[in-house]
Subunit: 83 residues, 2 copies
């Protein structure tokens, strides 16, 4: 069994209103030393090896479902889990 940790964030040029809202809320709570906040998605996917390599499959899942590649970029880490 493998564990894939996938991080999906907006691309640089894309407005991140939720991140802005969190930034403003942190400032209102007194954390005025916070410069910027970006809010993304985080997936923990447990999977067994399929037809392709685990890495190829996770990459494909990101492109097809997990990220909107027009607006978002993704990165992932894959580790083998102990049985």
């Amino acid at each position: 069994m493998y564990l894939a940790k996938v991080y999906v964030t907006y691309k640089e040029s894309i407005l991140d209103p939720k991140g802005e809202a969190v930034h403003d809320a942190l400032h209102r709570l007194g954390y005025t030393n916070v410069d910027s906040v970006e809010l993304g998605k985080y997936f923990e996917i447990k999977l067994t090896a399929g037809k392709k390599t685990v890495e190829a499959e996770v990459d494909e899942m990101c492109d097809r479902l997990l990220a909107n590649v027009n607006m978002e970029s993704y990165r992932y880490e894959i580790t083998e889990m102990e049985a």
Copy 2:
């Protein structure tokens, strides 16, 4: 300037309907080797040192705003950014 990467996920006992939906969608796309999916939030926070240590501040932000500690757990990594 510091970069804090904060990961917020549901606690074990809490139902994760979005993760379930992604799991089901991946199965429909043919990734039947996917065992489970958990969907969490991922924050990238850039901040300067405030009154307390950066670690103490990020911990406090998680408790006060970023995570609902009744349902969610969090972890974070803090790195110093090059100026």
